[in-house]
Symmetry: C2
Subunit: 430 residues, 2 copies
């Protein structure tokens, strides 16, 4: 693995906007589904997924769900249940209450916090299935109090339901209420606009291919979306006290995701840099997904810094999705680490602990968006409402100022809505 | 004003995606500014705003700010300061703390809450100026702890700085740290990508014309954005106890904004409906902006419902930006009113109280997005980070489950990052 000075490292970022023809395809599919509903949905499913379904077959049945439970490995099911409990416990702590502020003049100001009503979750199809991703997306919604959580996922031949059974059991464990066999931009269109079979949702979450990403971007505003996910990445910030074997294993666990993954070590120790580089080569040779991982590692780097302070600065510049801190006193750096989605402290907090099990969400800001975005959390499934109950005393007291501001902005009608009350209340007084 | 049964009312919504040529223009301008920086920025300013500026003249100076203070009306300045204090007090209550959860096995899980570092606020130019909008956008950012709050606004000839002095003083009162004379898609591009003079921000807020809206949609992902605002709207939910004069004045205050504004009364009282309709005609005749208001009123309606329960259902279907509740016992309806951005209770809570003064934000979800969006709030300027410090005990206890899940998903490298630690810790034990 190449070792370079940190200040020579250029971050490449590109927001995915798709090619014009991809955007045109997405626009056409969405318009078609919005106009023609189930008929269009089934037509695209036949065309893209090679599955001829009727509208009645779109929804996964209770029997299919039961069959999935019978077909999964017991140890996996147990792990899914334990992980779900941890994820639920962590996200419970994110909940918040409505509040009211009662003022002496009789005015009440407040903020109501409510769950969204109906949320859609896209689950990619293909050969690999990621039940952990189902848990991480659905449980925060369930904890928020969302009543209807809907999964859409492209049907394949694998599994009785045409959907991987681990996806189905994870969905059931996470409180998903409806599962539909439909994928691609057409599934996003159905969630945004609704069809005869799939009612429209308020928000769409979950990862997908470029067509899914472009479709989410397109329907944003009609419904809410979570974010447009980019390739996954990790930075390990380490000093000479860190174990090079652990670091190499952690970098590789990120690199095996995808050839676009980024796995970076930032260290002030040249010895550690060299040891990790060698250890990477050793471990990589034995990794099943070594072809993917090697390509990702080749584009990644070990960044040498002169001090941990420069290390912190480098981390903040990269704004990683995952950050592991393996230094002598990791918590002392915490206040300084401004840009990172999830921060793993110490030698035992390897990223997979967070990916699968500990409880915090593994849906994290990618592509440097940790500058302004957060891990998926309960707030993402809540909305707020402002409450204003102004008292007569308060209105009469503040009327002049409100009218002044309204008139300064040229809104005489606004001023008069106040004035008509002041006049009438004045009359009643005399 | 037309009176119709509520179930005959069709809601028209359209998400603004712009015309192909508008999108093409925006794409071109953004690419140009991203590539050519200040030079492109100044070129578009000369072309679109007819202002020839140098890079050094982009930023409003301290002297220009002082001049603005000298030129504004004292009563307006006082009202701005009182409004700012109320807005600040309300938003202070939205702040939240970082938290940590210390577990018995030595594991620490937590959530850090931090402000964004740098936020940009678009302020439209043109003849009218809306200092209240500057307060409502900038103060939540300031309360969140954002250190750098930047305004961009197209220069005009009005005012010493080419910018309306009320905008400038509101910006100064709200803690804005930099103000630049630049507008349109080019200003959004500068905020997203940065130029020699204007550094890139983490998030862009504020309303603008179609080019600004399309530019915000385009740069979303590169930076965060607030939302794409649609036309403003109000619903008044009233029973026979309500004052028709007040309701008419409130509907008109909304209608005067814009011909696309929507002002709807929902009532179970045919008498009230008739009285409001007549009162609208009477008040409209004397309103300075009656041409705009009349057009908005013509497209709006009074909706008759059979019961308040149907009224509540109608409100939830419309999902208004502003909702006034003028019924005998307004607070009893509060739990049922699921979809509304800001809820004004009782006869004295006319919308302008909230638009200008009470404290809650006037940037609210338009176009039915109250189904899933919130008023602008402090959370919009905060981000979260997850913290995981797993203990050795916890890792050894959970290792098997984590490896099971990783292997179920085909990620052997993830499993090995756990396994290598288990093996080594086992060795150390023996």
């Amino acid at each position: 693995m190449r070792i370079i000075p940190a200040d020579e490292f250029q971050i490449e970022r590109s927001v995915e906007y798709g090619m014009p023809d991809q955007n045109e395809t997405v626009r056409r599919i969405i318009g078609d589904v919005a106009a023609n509903g189930d008929e269009a949905l089934l037509r695209y499913t036949a065309e893209h997924d090679k599955m001829t379904l009727t509208a009645a077959e779109l929804r996964v049945t209770e029997e299919e769900l039961q069959e999935a439970y019978r077909s999964v490995d017991e140890s996996v099911l147990q792990a899914i249940r334990l992980a779900a409990a941890n994820i639920r416990a962590y996200h419970e702590k994110q909940k918040r209450n409505s509040w009211m502020d009662l003022q002496e003049d009789g005015t009440i100001l407040g903020q109501i916090v409510r769950p969204l009503k109906r949320v859609g979750l896209y689950v990619p199809g293909g050969t690999a299935a990621y039940p952990s991703s189902v848990l991480m997306n659905a449980i925060p919604a369930q904890v928020a109090g969302v009543k209807e959580i809907v999964i859409v996922t492209p049907p394949a031949t694998a599994g009785a339901a045409g959907i991987n059974p681990y996806i189905l059991v994870a969905a059931a464990e996470a409180g998903v209420t409806e599962i539909y066999r439909v994928g691609g931009a057409q599934a996003i269109a159905a969630l945004a606009y609704g069809t005869e079979t799939i009612r429209a949702v308020d928000k769409i979450c979950g990862p997908g291919n470029i067509y899914v990403a472009l479709a989410k971007r397109y329907v944003y505003g009609q419904v809410d979306i979570d974010s447009i996910a980019g390739p996954t990445d990790i930075v390990v910030l380490a000093d000479k006290t860190a174990d090079p074997q652990y670091i190499a294993a952690d970098l590789l666990s990120q690199a095996e995701h995808d050839v676009l993954s980024s796995a970076i070590l930032v260290t002030d120790s040249a010895d550690l840099a060299e040891a990790v580089s060698q250890e990477i080569d050793r471990q990589l040779a034995e990794l099943p997904r070594r072809k993917i991982a090697a390509e990702a590692i080749a584009k990644s780097a070990i960044l040498l810094v002169k001090s941990l302070a420069e290390g912190v600065e480098t981390v903040n510049r990269i704004a990683p999705e995952h950050l592991e801190v393996m230094v002598q006193d990791p918590i002392s750096l915490l206040p300084l680490l401004e840009n990172a989605g999830a921060i793993f402290l110490g030698s035992y907090s390897t990223e997979p602990v967070g990916d699968y099990f500990a409880g915090p969400n593994h849906v994290l800001p990618t592509n440097g968006t940790a500058r302004f975005s957060s891990p998926l959390n309960v707030d993402d499934f809540l909305k707020k409402q402002s409450i204003i109950q102004y008292s007569k005393t308060a209105l009469l007291r503040d009327a002049e100022h409100i009218m002044t501001l309204a008139r300064c902005e040229g809104f005489e009608g606004h001023a008069r809505a106040v004035e008509i009350r002041v006049k009438k209340e004045g009359e009643q007084k005399t």
